[in-house]
Amino acid sequence: MQASISLSSSSPSSLAFARSDRAVEFFSTNASKPSSFRFCGLRGEALGFSTLKRSGCNQVALSQRRLFKKLSASLKDNGVPSKGFDYDLVIIGAGVGGHGAALHAVEKGLKTAIIEGDVVGGTCVNRGCVPSKALLAVSGRMRELQSEHHLNALGLQVSSAGYDRQGVADHANNLATKIRNNLTNSLKALGVDILTGVGTILGPQKVKYGKAGFSDNVITAKDIIIATGSVPFVPKGIEVDGKTVITSDHALKLEFIPDWIAIVGSGYIGLEFSDVYTALGSEVTFIEALDQLMPGFDPEIGKSAQRVLINPRKIDYHTGVFASKIIPARDGKPVTIELIDAKTKEPRDTLEVDAALIATGRAPFTKGLGLDNINVETQRGFVPVDECMRVIDKNGKLVPHVYCIGDANGKMMLAHAASAQGISVVEQVSGKDHVLNHLSIPAACFTHPEISFVGLTEPQARERAEKEGYEISITKTSFKANTKALAENEGEGLAKLIYRPDTGEILGVHIFGLHAADLIHEASNAIALGTRIQDIKFAVHAHPTLSEVLDELFKSAKVNSGVSNPVKEPVAI
């Protein structure tokens, strides 16, 4: 009974491929409330991109598979391995990337095992996107409830908003647990073997795994995917004690809320935490090595985001400086941060704060992976790969049957990118040419309001246009002119489209505004499928919705070429 329940509520086919209408039906009949939660989490976090190119064509096959699974769940096989191997595919690391690859591998009929030394779900689920979304959900509501001006404009009266720190922390932790169980169940349900222990590559097509203190098991596999992910990067000179000097791993547990916290790094992680901490009453100081805050974003978006997310909040910042030394609070002294000039290395300032969060990015985790055994050397810690995620050895040659996806290869350190890469690899090992177009992978920062983008930033697009000799055009729309945004009294924000006026090709879309993270997919799908502006501008958007921001964006673009033929079939990407 247990088996059939887990099958129906978290079968991968429903997770990855169900269209929204089917999903609703599915839930009303089968699932209890919690599983609907898991569903959202997985779709949003893990498989955002990967669904796209398969929806439709594979759906029929999948429903059949589900029927089949129901009948034969007890048999617990996920394919028959190729001759002479224990498995067709062994994935080292059960994060979102490994999970995505495993699901797709089973779908392709490969006998699959996944090796995990820690907990299933990896960074995203346990120490990253998932718990942070729980905190951000809280911070978003706190912000709304505290914004008297905003509430009054809506005619609402709220006496005062408060929060219980432990309650908030529990929400984040519970969410992570829930999503983790969901991932585990979905793997088990498909019959993927979850092998516990640290995975080490012994040689070509040979992997050992085992817990410390136990004897190792050696297995053979036709193909191996490295998906070991990353850990928070802590620059040298910074002493992390887990209490007053912390990384995102600790911050997500929300053990205390300092009056004043310095956040080193103003990328996604830093920005999201600044949103959380300021909503819960902290004051924040950003320390950014580059001359500008939010260096990863399109400059214009960054500037306007700064006007909303930084300037009016209880946040100040130091740019162009490194935190050369951070000493945790002890002996009655506060956290001490020494700042040096990023260029001249001369001392600039000393800060004394209650806590410091190190959000300087993430470092690939490849320890104990046995890369030496296949003659591979990491570059700045990353496993070198080609565009098909095939691992490259010291001599620049491809290592047969070894692939690396996700944060460990450093191509694009996003959960859904890892998953997409994993699916791409599975496509290849099952005999199809497949190259993932990384420019079609959207990214989002879940501040309030959110920031999202796909493709090139304006400076990148200009550089490329100059090199390749074409013109680019830019058009922008504001959320201020969107009915739904105004109804929500959230007119702050803009969307920006970078495109080629000669062909109508979309080069990049950047959104800052209400629900930007959910809005970007129209643009990322268009890029992935090669849809041109002159075609997509005829697509209809429901009124009034936020999606009209993009509608307006596409309509305001001026494309010189005539209407091209509508895309008849998805273009391989």
Binding site: E148, H149, S159, S160, D259, W260, E283, V284, T285, K303, S304, R307, N311, K314, I315, D316, K333, P334, T350, E352, D354, S473, I474, T475, K476, T477, S478, K480, A481, N482, T483, L494, H543, P544, E548, D551, E552, L553, S556, K558
Partner: protein, 489 residues
């Protein structure tokens, strides 16, 4: 269905660099409506106006200046990004020239049609334009938060400093003056700043200090490790405003001369009372004929402080909040609002008029908030501001300062934690209010906690008001202040 088809048509289309909207960003001199500028600005220095970007736009916010002061501009180049009620748009110039002076800084708001910058035709005219920007920005108050512009411009060429330009920056100097006494205290131990070499202030404190023009160097931090936090800046700004003109002064008792001793006093001379000081003196002597006594009470103000923080932005002042709370307590204790005119009877006053002692240059006056129990807190705050302005201009009418039935004297903003006041003749009671300070308190359940508490001390005429009356009144007042939700109705 029509609605669906009309999506977005009523909105201004988005701005884009490819189709910059052209607005006449400067107008011929004849169109200028500011008479003060007409004489000052010659034809070659043009004003850049806040354009009307939509039919409904009345004011616009400067998002960013694309060009900075001194930059050369070519006709058609975009100069500034303006945020209207609908969208952000680039505004371009119609003339060649130099961006001489920015009059409304980024983030500032200006009314449609008001000047936001000056455009000089030649490089030589830049300085001239700047001095003009100086005088016009100080004489006109069109730009709201942009007062920074006047100071930055003023700091540049000292040459043509018009009197107005000088007048435009009294705020910082005043605040310095006001906080001068606290500098002495600050030089004691400031653990977070290595003996005062460095200023340690929280991000929000820094922001506030910039906004309120408070010099952080002169503050003593009350935060962890002596760090300056937001409320230190707020307190300093409040004190600065008070010293600037009306200082809510003491009870009549500490001689008013003392308040204004420091500046401009010639030692070894005898200076006769002014009329006002004479009146104070007479009243003080007269008060000796009244048998007074005092009752004190400690009130927790956490809830009040929180409320204040919430509604401060709507112009509500602490004075108004205290007056309102007092008035509401008096409603329940009419005897405390009574007076003894002839030594034989109670005169129960029909209205509750709260007089608040205010120190003025060389004197003391008690503007009266009439019917403080009936007015809502916002009206009361407006009324109070009006009274203070009038007091400053010495335009208070007699009924606005001598109809008080109960007097409030607050020295809290100076850090005074308790004091006692002398009863003004003709009233029954006066309340002296001390500073609210974080205090360690033991609670009934055996825990130790931190609460902000202030001490109040009521002086009353014992012929009519007895100890039990004051005790009951103070208890009511404490209840109101500790649960201040009634104050906002």
């Amino acid at each position: 269905m029509a609605g669906l088809l009309n999506i977005g048509t009523s909105f201004i289309p988005s701005s884009s660099t490819s189709k910059l909207l052209r607005y006449p960003s400067s107008l011929p001199p004849a169109n200028r409506n500011n008479p003060s500028n007409r004489t000052l600005i010659q034809a070659k220095i043009r004003e850049i106006f806040m354009p009307a970007l939509s039919s409904t736009m009345t004011e616009g916010k400067i998002v960013s200046w694309v060009k900075s002061e001194g930059d050369k501009l070519a006709k058609g180049e975009s100069v500034v990004v303006v945020e209207s009620d609908k969208a952000d748009m680039d505004v371009e110039t119609f003339y060649d020239g130099y961006l001489a002076a920015i009059m409304v800084e980024e983030g500032g708001v200006a009314a449609v049609g008001s000047a936001i910058a000056l455009l000089a035709e030649t490089e030589e005219e830049i300085a001239e334009a700047r001095s003009k920007a100086n005088s016009s920005s100080s004489s006109s108050s069109s730009s709201s938060s942009s007062s920074a512009s006047s100071s930055t411009v003023a700091s540049k060429p000292p040459q043509e400093k018009t009197p107005e330009a000088v007048a435009s920056s009294p705020a910082p100097s005043l605040s310095k003056q006001a906080s001068a006494p606290s500098v002495v205290a600050a030089s004691s131990v400031h653990p977070a700043s290595e003996g005062g070499k460095r200023i340690v202030a929280s991000p929000y404190a820094k922001k506030l200090a910039k906004e309120l023009k408070v010099d952080l160097g002169s503050l003593v931090g009350s935060g962890p490790m002596g760090r300056i936090v937001a409320k230190d800046v707020e307190a300093a700004a409040a004190a600065a405003v008070l010293t600037e003109s009306p200082k809510p002064a003491a009870s009549p008792a500490p001689s008013p001369a003392k308040v204004s001793t420091t500046p401009g006093i010639e030692l070894g001379t005898v200076v006769p009372f002014t009329t006002m000081q004479g009146a104070v003196s007479r009243n003080m002597v007269q008060s000796l004929t009244v048998p007074t006594f005092r009752v004190g009470y400690t009130i927790t103000t956490d809830a009040l402080d929180q409320l204040y923080k919430k509604i401060k932005s709507k112009g509500v002042t602490m004075t108004a909040l205290l007056a309102k709370a007092t008035a509401l307590a008096l409603v329940k204790h009419p005897v405390v609002n009574s007076s003894c005119r002839d030594g034989k009877s109670f005169t129960y006053n029909s209205s509750i008029n709260i007089a608040v002692a205010v120190a003025m240059d060389g004197g003391l006056i008690t503007p009266v908030l009439q019917d403080a129990d009936k007015l809502d807190i916002y009206s009361l705050s407006r009324k109070w501001k009006e009274l203070v302005d009038k007091a400053r201009a010495k335009q208070l009418q007699p009924h606005e300062y001598n109809t008080g039935t109960f007097t409030l004297s607050n020295l809290g903003m100076f850090g005074v934690d308790r004091f006692d006041a002398i009863l003004p003749p003709g009233t029954g009671a006066i309340m002296a209010v001390g500073a609210s300070q974080p205090t360690v308190v033991a609670t009934k359940d055996g825990r130790i906690g931190m609460k902000s508490q202030m001490q109040v001390n009521v002086t009353a005429d014992h012929r009519i008001i007895y100890g039990a009356d004051l005790a009951a009144f103070l208890q009511t007042l404490a209840n109101i202040i500790e649960d201040p939700k009634d104050l906002t109705f």
